[in-house]
Every structure is written in C-alpha cells, then in structure tokens.
C-alpha cells in the first residue's frame, strides 16, 4: 500500500483523495494509477496540455469542481495557455469541435454516430487524427467515470486546495474523506449518522435476504427456464423501470462558478435510454464487445493503452474478497454481474445470455437509485443516498461498488464511441 502511495506521489507529485479512497482495493488502484499515468504523462498522440484540458472538459460536464481544479493546476503546470480556461470558446477550434462528442458521450452515448466521428476527422486544418481521437475518447470516458467516482464516494478537495478547508455547498458532497477512510471499522458511527429510523436488525435482514435470493437464483436457474419471449421482455422491463428509478430529492444544483464556464450547453443532460431512444436499436454485446473488438481497435490506434484498460476492466470485474458485510466465503459473482449488467442496461447494452430478471431480485430500489444517480447524474448524489443503500455493508464494499460502476460506465461509453469509429472506418 505504501509503495502504491509512493508511486502515486512520484508520478503526480501529490497524493489525492481519490487515491486515498481507492486504496481500499490496492490491486485495482495499481492498475488505475498505471493507466492514468500512461494516459496523462507517457507517449501519446496528444500534447500534454491537451490531455489535461480534455480532462477538464470531461469533468466539467458533470460539474465536478474537484477534478476540474486538480487539472487546471496540472494544465497550467505543463504550460497550457491560461486563456483557454476562460471557456471552451477560447480554446483552439480543434478542442471546441470535441465539445459535442464530450456532451453526447457523457449523457447519451447511444446517440453517437459515425457522422460525429467524421465531423471530427474531416475538419480541414482543425481535424483530428484517428490516433488522437482515440486518445481523446479514452480520456473523456476516463474522466466522466472518474467524476462519477468522485461524487459517488463524496470525495472532497484536498485540504490545501481551493475550498478544501471550507464547507462546500451541499451539491459537492459534504462528507469528508476522513469519514470514509477512518470509518471502515466504525460501523456504529455510521448507524448513528444515518437516519435513526432504521433499526439494526432491519438492515441485518437486508443482507440475509440478499444472500438468500442469490442462493435461490443459483439453484432454481437450472430447473425453471423462462421462455424466450419472457427473457426478451425482462430486458425491456428492466430498461423501462430504470427510467423511473430516480432520486426523490431533486436538489437543484448550483454549479460552482469556475466550472460552469466550460459548459456550452448546460441543458443537455442524461435522458433515459428507453424514453428517448425508442428508435435507437439495442446494443448487442455479442456483436461488438470490448474483448474482441474494442480492445483491438484501441490497441491499434493507441498502442499499450488497450492492454492497460483491458487489465483494469478485468480487475474491476473480477475483484472479490468473497465477503459480504459480515459474511465470509460468499460467491459474489452473481451480484457483481447483476450490477455490471444493470449499468449497461441503462445505456441500452444487452447481453443475450443474461436473464435480466436477476437484477430485479438482487438490487433493491434504494440501491438502484444510487447506481443510477452515480452513473447518470453524479452531481446529484447526496450523502443520504450513499448511506441509505446496503446499510450493513462496509465502506470498502461501497467503494468496491463504485469501482464497478465507474468501470462499467467507462466500458459502455467506450463501446459506443469505438463502435462509431469502427463504423466510420469501414
């Protein structure tokens, strides 16, 4: 763990709170840092200040002032022009062109078409090369999902940073990193903090019930086979339901000033796939998946990154300690798969070989609300949401969930973007 910290410090010159939270899962953190370091600092088609600026653009889409401030510093440090920070319209035309893709990718990736790609690649002197574009897409998706993580885990600015030592408006989650890092063994404190009406026994049953369901599913899977029509409709149902899953407390977000200037279109936000994407065909993983297609494309245009991201996905997907809350030796693969596929389902990505009925059984409403908010509108995450799902689980497990969320989100966005690039190329 210390070696990881040291590596991170050496690479970034700082130890940010994201690292401090992720270190719950050192195996993942290592891969994450390696990828991030490669994306930002090693050889790549884009100049260094572009990379940070793209990071700022992506984080600003979710009004994540924490990441924005972090990268504003880095951007200036590598010699970026401070004028660009006054808004996207001050940046070169080339980056401005990327704004549209950033917007669609962040909120409605299923709408990306090869025309988007063509528009970027064929803009005369402002055009992007394929390699640059892949680099930019990877950066955008990386920072979109990292913004999700920041809000999902309520990461606050470092103490020395702007706003780090003051209270933030509630929109930027107001619980401190210390809560999480110290609170791993302090479950009682959690109980006190969260709404008092939940009794301990209640939440205890929650875990029990979940485990029972998993067991049932495991057993009855072979016996009772749902008909094809039913399987198909279950995906549709889940998709439709995901649309109603929304946080009841819709606090109005007031984006911090310094962030909003990177927006050109604040009105463009997440719209449910099912509601607005009626004519958008379902994305079938069996036809375009990361392992077979996405990897090859990325690795061809931006060598080594495909490998790094692939490792990261693998680690995130397969990460398990075989524990659930206070129980040991539990096979959580079913639960992890349900979470992963639920997120992909929200983006309209379907696995032919998955029974979407499982999701409904395994994920309860408050958990779905949390997932949906973190993935789609991370800026609306509140501490209450974080507290109200899986009350019996440890913080490390909730961070684990967040890792699943961000990696699944990143893969979903990448799949749509890369498929568009592939379509453009053929």
């Amino acid at each position: 763990m210390h070696a990881l910290f040291a590596d991170s410090f050496a690479a970034l010159g700082r130890l940010d709170n994201i690292t401090l939270v992720m270190v719950f899962h050192p195996q993942y953190l290592e891969s994450f840092l390696k990828t991030q370091h490669y994306l930002l600092q090693m050889d790549g088609p884009l100049p260094l200040h572009y990379r940070h600026y793209i990071g700022i653009m992506a984080a600003a889409r979710h009004q994540c002032s924490y990441l924005v401030n972090l990268h504003v510093n880095d951007f200036l440090h590598v010699g970026g022009d401070p004028k660009w920070l006054n808004g996207l319209e001050n940046a070169p035309q080339k980056l401005q062109n990327l704004g549209e893709l950033n917007k669609v990718l962040a909120h409605r990736p299923w709408l990306i078409t090869k025309e988007h790609i063509e528009g970027l690649l064929k803009a005369e002197e402002h055009s992007w090369s394929l390699a640059e574009l892949v680099h930019a897409v990877v950066l955008l998706t990386h920072y979109h999902s990292l913004a999700s993580f920041t809000f999902g885990c309520g990461i606050s600015p470092e103490i020395h940073c702007d706003g780090g030592h003051t209270f933030r408006p509630p929109s930027v989650s107001n619980y401190c990193i210390c809560d999480i890092t110290n609170g791993n063994h302090g479950m009682d404190e959690m109980q006190v903090n969260s709404a008092g009406n939940i009794s301990v026994s209640d939440s205890f049953f929650e875990v029990e019930a979940l485990m029972e369901k998993m067991k049932q599913l495991q057993e009855c899977r072979d016996e009772e086979e749902a008909s094809q029509e039913e399987m198909a409709s279950r995906f549709e149902i889940e998709k439709r339901e995901s649309m109603f899953v929304f946080s009841s407390d819709d606090e109005e977000v007031t984006p911090a000033r310094d962030v909003s200037r990177h927006f050109e279109d604040t009105s463009y936000g997440y719209k449910d796939f099912s509601r607005h994407g009626m004519h958008v065909p379902t994305f079938r993983v069996q036809d375009y998946c990361w392992e077979d297609h996405g990897y090859s494309l990325v690795n061809r245009l931006y060598p080594d990154v495909g490998q790094l991201i692939d490792e990261k996905f693998h680690i995130a997907y397969n990460l398990t300690y075989n524990t659930m809350a206070m129980h040991k030796d539990v096979d959580t693969s079913m639960l992890r798969r349900a979470i992963w596929n639920y997120i992909h389902c929200m983006f309209g990505i379907r696995y032919d070989d998955y029974d979407y009925g499982e999701i409904n059984q395994l994920l309860d409403r408050s958990f779905k609300v949390y997932i949906k908010t973190v993935v789609c509108t991370p800026e609306k995450v509140t501490k209450r949401m974080y507290d109200s799902f899986w009350r019996q689980f440890k913080h490390s497990e909730k961070v684990h969930v967040n890792l699943l969320l961000i990696e699944a989100r990143m893969q979903a966005e990448l799949l749509y973007a890369l498929r568009a690039i592939t379509r453009y190329m053929t």
Partner: protein
C-alpha cells in the same frame, strides 16, 4: 474483380466448377459452414440462418431455417457447423447459451431438432466429431465445454477449463479421442474425450485471447492457433511439450484460421477487427502472405474451404452481409508488389545489399562495380526452405566492406576533438583550426581556415611570416582529398592527378612571386573552384595527353595577368554566363570571375591555387582597403555548401560556428539545422559526447539547442541492493531504505547530490564542498582521498 476465371476441378468423380462470385445476404453473417458435398453452404448470424446452393455462376438460396413469427434468441447464432458425415445434420451455437441441432430431413418447415440449454453464457463454438455420427462438442463463455450425444437429451460429459471463457473447440482429425480448446486467457488445452476430470495437456499459446484453432488435415499433431496478439502459431503436439514450429505475424487480431487443403504449409486467416481481407499464408514465409482476397467491405467472420481436397475454392461470410466464393487464381499476390531489393549502410561505411538471386547472379557475371577493388563482395547464400517459392524466396545478401584504414575516420575524431570553436578571437580560432587540419594532413581544409581568417579578420593582426609559412607548406604538398567522407575518393586516377598538381606547384612557385598583388581575389576564388572541380579531376587524371595543354595554359594565364586587371577577359573568352557572383562595377570583380570560368572548363583553376598563395602576405593590405567582408559571404556560403555536399559536414558546421553571424544570415535555417543534426549524429556515433554537446550549445538554431534539454534524466541504482530505483531517487522500492544519504549530515539528500567517483560516497553539494575545504579525506571515513573539482 475483373479477371474472373472459371475453374473446373475433377475430384474423384465429382466436379467442382465456379468462379469468383458473391451474393448479398439480408444480414451480417457470423459463421459459415460447408456441406460435405461441397455444393451447399450454410450462413448463420444474429438474424440470418440460410442454406445456399453453390452453382457455377451464382449462389442460390435454398432454404431459410429461420422460421416462426417471433424470432427467438435461440436463432441468434454465434457459430454454425455442418456434419461432415451426415448431410442432413447441422448444429448452431446461440448467443444466449443454447446449442441447437437441425435435421434437414424433417418433413415439416421447422427443421429444429434438439435444444440443449445447459450453458449459462454465450456458446462460442460447436464442433461435430469428424467420424462419429452423434457426438457434438460445444465451448462456452462460462468456461465449460460440453460433449453431447445426439441420441440423448442432455450432455454426456462436461469439461471445465478452470479458467475464463472458451473461444474455440476442435476435434482432432487424426486422433479419435482428442480435442483442443482455446481460452480467453491465452491458454490452449488438450483433452481426451473419455476423461472429463482433467485436461491432458495445457500450455500458453498467446498473449491475450486465443480466438481460434485448427488441426492440420494431414499432419498428425499440427495445430494452428490464432490470437488477439495478431499472431498465428503452428504447434507440433506430437512431442512431449508443445513446440512452436512457425509463427506468422499478421496486422490485426486473428479471428479464424483454416488449413488449406492439399497444401501442406498453407493456411487461410481472417481478422476480427479493422482488416477486412482474407490472407493465405505459407507458414514458412511468415512476413508476406502468399495470397490475399480483398472482396469484403467489412470484417470477414467466417471462412471455409469448399472441398476438403480442393485448394482453389474458398468461401467466406462477412459483416458486410455478403457471401463470397474466392478463387485462388483470382487472388492478389502481395509478393509481386513487394520491393525485392534492400540496401543499408553500416556504421563504418559498409554497405549491405540484398536482392533476388537471379538479379545479382546476372550482375556479378560482369564485374559489377567500379569500386569493388576496394570493397570486396561477399555472397552469403541462404539455402531455400520453401520449395514452391524457389524462384521468389531465395535472395542474396552482398556486403561491401570498406578497406580497413581506407575508410578510417580517425581524422574525423581528431579534428572534432582538437578544433576550437569558441572562446577566442576569430583569428586565433581560425589559426588554431588551420593548424589542426594541417597536422592531420588536410591541407585544403587548413587553407580554407587561413582564408577565412584573412577574409574576416583585420589583417593588421596577422603576422605575415606566419602566413607565408603556412602557404609555403601548403603548396609543397599535393592535394589529397582526404576529407571526403564517402567511399569514392582516392580513385585510381587521383594519384597521377596529385603528381601533376605537385609538379605544377613546383614549377610555378617561381613565377608566383612575379604575379601582381591583385591576384589575391583570384586565389580566393581558385580555392573555391578547385574544390568543386574534383569530379573533373577524376576524369582528367586518366587522360595523360591533356596534361601538357593544361600546363601550357597556365603560364599564359600568369603572364597575361601582369599588365592590368582587364586581361582575363581577353585571355579567356567567356564561354558561358556567370551566374554565381553578384555583378559589380569594379574590375576586381571581373577578375574574380574569370578563374571560375576557366576552372569549370578545364583544369587550370585546380592548378592555380597552391602557388598563388604566397601572394597573400603581400597583398592583404590592398584587399583590406577595398573590400568589405560582406563581399565574400557568397563565396563562403558556396564553400560551406561545397563541403557539406562532399560529406564533410564537420567543416561546414565548424566554420558556421566559428564565423558565426557573419555568414549565418546567408544560409537558410533549414540547411543549417540539417548540417547541425548530421554533424551531431556523426559525433554521437563516434561517441564524442563532449564535442557534440559543445556543438549543440554553440548552435544558434533553436531546434538544435533544445536537444540539450531533452532526456536529461539520470537513473541511479540503490546503494544497498544494486537495483535500479525507478520512481524516486532517494528511496529504494525493494529494500525500503533511503539509498542516498549525505555522508556529512547523515540525512537523506533530495536535492543536488554529489558523488565521489572513486569511493562513491557523497552527499549534499554544500556539505561536501565545505567538508573538502577542510579535509582531503572522504567524509564517510573510508580513507579515500576525494577530490572535488
């Protein structure tokens, strides 16, 4: 494809006919499989499942197996296979994990026979036993392989790969009980169908998923595998350990691989992404495909040879919704487009040349090269392993070596080390460099330096004796063109030429003193032209007859010069326009031009320079009063270009640095930069790091001077475990100790660190400096007498 040809092959009674053709499908195909009779092909995909009859001119849709109103996921096929024993039996693998068998003999419209729903994830591959009628094998994403007996309702046995998803399963054609399976994690496993408990053998074949494998139809135990790492490997499984026999590097991940029938070393591949072509490789020639089919517009997803004993028909299905029949005869052959010759220079001027054997053989018959006397040729003939390519694959490698010593570059190293480039007045620098050049026997260069001094320095500072001395020495030696960097100098003719030169120099050394002082400029120019005349010298050296004529010209030249400046024009009628020099009203100018002309016509100029030098001492005052240094800049520029052209970029750069501003503006930035980079490159090849750094430092070009700023990192090893310290300079990752402690204050040094090169102790720069002021011993107490400089 314009050149479509029809091919008819007779194969044991049945006849295959056809041409290159394609037909449009309604949807993208995922896999294809051929019927045993080679007349039908089945195409399967997410929303297509059809059988086509292959006729002579076209594909004809024969049967649509996708029946029923509501399309079920069971029909969304990832793979399809046709039984090689039973024409009515097919099996498909569905993306939802179902394995379906189809019986074409059923009377009803729905031909679906059996449904196996045992796999939990997508089934990637199904495979029938090659000889057994009822045995079917499947491999799935869930990591299991299942063996079905079609007479029973469920699987006979389940094989667990104990790892991630199975990508391909293939029954061995020769060994009844064996099958191979490939995995997403890069492993290949060999199983015995009777022993489901554990695999017979396992090895890692690829880095990343292995997408496909195929057993060789004839050679027992040959298995070809293709992976995401863009490689096709051929393994020999008969030995104790699987041995990699061949490896073909493709340009994209390999989705399918199929051995070509009747051609022992050929296999066809197609890729999963980016690349749409189908390649046929000769595994012994892994760099260039033997044939290439370019019909598809999107990735090819399925390939199949039409008949197990006919190598000329290949069928393929693609994501672009087409089904194609390719004829080997119509394939494009990348070999024909490849460049069959290669040429490369070695560090010390060696030249390697590889070409087709036939080409070189014809050449070597008639003494190929004028230069081969100095550069012996070595033929290294490779024995050709690829019989079918006998004509193509054999090539010859010739190495032309430079004569030891002949191409020696010691002069370059010496010059580089001894030249002074900055830090002293220009005159001294020039003198110094001239001396260096002369000591190395490079008189022409030496004189150039002297000349530069004269041009750019006020003559008052120059002691004339010194000058005379230098000139005298210069004229007594010949003009060996030692400085030429290329291999072409010292041609046989040069010897005689030098002799000629010298004799003339001698004769003329008397007359020289008679010449009028005004010839200074002429000399200046002569020096210039003489250089550019080198090629002419080569030619003339052989022609002995001309020597006298040339010689005769010269006295004429000197005599005529005596009366007045105007003379040259009369003595040497201008034969062509002079473009080189700027026009000017002065006589001097005309005079300056005339030798130029003569030089380019004949050898006169090359004879002139040495001797007339002695005049310089007399004349410099004159020149000084009349001509601004700028006047010469074009000449100097041409001179620099000349040296650079000759390959002596060292001279060009050195002069550029020494003379600096005075000439820089006349040479465009890019050329300068080019010279600098070439020179620095050379210096670094000779490991003259200091000199190269000095040159970088002194250069005025921005692109060059920033070379110094790049990669300035110094990597250090830990003083305890001797491993490199990767991330930080002061803490070792492995032994977790602070490696760089200050020997004086015993704290970790995080800033400037100074080491003693003798005892490798060190510490804070400040501390060490202070310590060594008081003591000469190492502060660590090791007894070493450290020195700080």
């Amino acid at each position: 494809m314009e050149k479509m040809s029809r091919v008819t092959t007779a194969l044991g009674g049945s006849t295959l006919m056809g041409r290159t053709m394609h037909c449009h499908l309604d949807a993208p195909a995922n896999a294809i499989s051929v019927c045993r009779d080679a007349a039908q092909v089945v195409v399967a995909g997410r929303s297509i499942f059809k059988i086509y009859a292959i006729e002579e001119e076209q594909f004809v849709e024969k049967l649509n197996l996708r029946v029923g109103r509501k399309p079920s996921l069971n029909l969304s096929c990832a793979d399809v296979v046709w039984h090689q024993m039973d024409e009515n039996l097919l099996a498909t693998a569905a993306t939802n994990g179902v394995v379906v068998t189809w019986n074409l003999g059923r009377p009803s419209r729905n031909k679906q026979d059996q449904l196996f729903t045992e796999h939990k994830r997508t089934v990637n591959k199904v495979c029938f036993h090659p000889t057994e009628a009822h045995v079917l094998l499947s491999g799935s994403q869930d990591g299991f392989m299942k063996c079905f007996d079609l007479r029973r309702k469920d699987s006979v046995s389940t094989f667990s790969g104990q790892s991630e998803s199975v990508r391909d399963v293939q029954f061995s054609i020769r060994d009844y009980f064996t099958f191979a399976s490939t995995f997403e994690n890069g492993n290949v496993q060999l199983w015995d169908i009777r022993r489901p408990d554990r695999c017979e053998r396992m090895f890692t074949a690829h880095n990343g998923p292995v997408f496909c494998c195929d057993w060789h139809p004839e050679d027992r135990g040959w298995l070809a595998t293709g992976g995401r790492d863009k490689m096709v490997k051929v393994w020999d499984m008969t030995t104790h350990r699987a041995k990699e026999m061949h490896c073909v590097q493709t340009i994209a991940s390999v989705a399918r691989v199929k051995w070509r029938p009747e051609c022992r070393h050929h296999l066809a591949t197609c890729s999963m992404m980016v690349d749409h072509n189908i390649y046929v490789w000769d595994v012994r020639r892994p760099f260039v495909p033997a044939a290439m089919f370019e019909e598809h517009r999107d990735v090819t997803t399925g390939i199949a040879w039409r008949h197990p004993h006919d190598p000329s028909f290949l069928l393929s299905g693609s994501k672009d919704s087409t089904l194609c029949q390719h004829l080997f005869r119509d394939a494009s052959q990348p070999v024909e487009r490849a460049n069959p010759e290669g040429l490369c220079y070695g560090l010390f001027g060696d030249l390697a040349f590889a070409a087709k054997e036939s080409l070189v053989a014809a050449e070597s018959g008639r003494k190929p090269y004028a230069g081969d006397r100095r550069h012996p040729i070595f033929f290294k003939r490779k024995l050709d392993p690829a019989e079918p390519f006998a004509g193509l694959a054999s090539s010859t490698l010739s190495v032309f070596e430079t004569e030891p010593g002949g191409g020696s570059m010691s002069w370059f190293v010496d010059t580089a080390e001894h030249y002074a480039l900055a830090g002293r007045p220009l005159a001294e620098l020039c003198d110094h460099n001239a001396r260096v050049a002369r000591e190395l026997g490079r008189n022409q260069v030496a004189q150039t330096w002297t000349m530069l001094r004269i041009i750019y320095c006020s003559p008052g500072l120059v002691p004339s004796t010194n000058l005379n001395h230098s000139v005298g020495k210069g004229s007594s030696c010949g003009l060996p063109l030692m400085n030429s960097f290329s291999l072409k100098d010292m041609a046989p003719g040069l010897g005689s030429e030098t002799r000629l030169d010298r004799s003339k120099g001698d004769t003329r050394s008397d007359t020289v003193l008679l010449e009028s002082s005004a010839t200074l400029v002429t000399n200046e120019d002569n020096e210039e032209t003489e250089g550019s005349d080198v090629p002419a010298d080569y030619l003339l050296g052989d022609v002995e007859g001309e020597e006298d004529e040339l010689y005769l010209l010269d006295p004429e030249h000197t005599q005529s010069e005596e009366p007045e400046y105007v003379l040259p024009q009369e003595a040497f009628p201008l034969r062509h326009e002079i473009v080189d020099t700027p026009p000017g009203p002065e006589h001097l100018q005309d005079k300056a031009d005339s030798p130029h002309v003569s030089g380019s016509e004949a050898d006169v100029a090359s004879l002139a320079p040495m001797d007339s030098f002695s005049l310089l001492s007399v004349s410099h005052a004159l020149y000084d009063s009349r001509l601004p240094p700028d006047f010469f800049s074009t000449l100097v520029r041409d001179m620099l270009h000349f040296y650079a052209e000759q390959g002596d970029v060292q001279m060009a750069v050195s002069v550029l640095i020494v003379v600096g501003e005075r000439v820089r503006k006349d040479i465009d930035e890019q050329t300068q930069e080019h010279w600098y980079t070439s020179y620095i490159d050379l210096l670094q090849r000779f490991r003259l790091w200091n000199v190269s750094n000095e040159v970088v430092k002194l250069s005025t070009s921005r692109a060059i001077s920033c070379l110094n700023q790049a990669s300035t990192t110094l990597h250090v090893n830990c003083s305890h475990c001797k491993r490199p310290m990767s991330s930080r300079g002061w803490v070792c990752d492995r032994c977790h100790r602070c490696a760089s402690m200050c020997a004086v204050c015993h704290h970790v040094v995080k800033g400037l660190f100074v080491w003693c090169q003798g005892c490798s102790h060190g510490g804070h720069l400040q501390h060490i400096m202070k310590w060594l002021e008081g003591s000469s011993h190492c502060p660590a107490g090791c007894g070493h007498l450290c020195e700080y400089s």
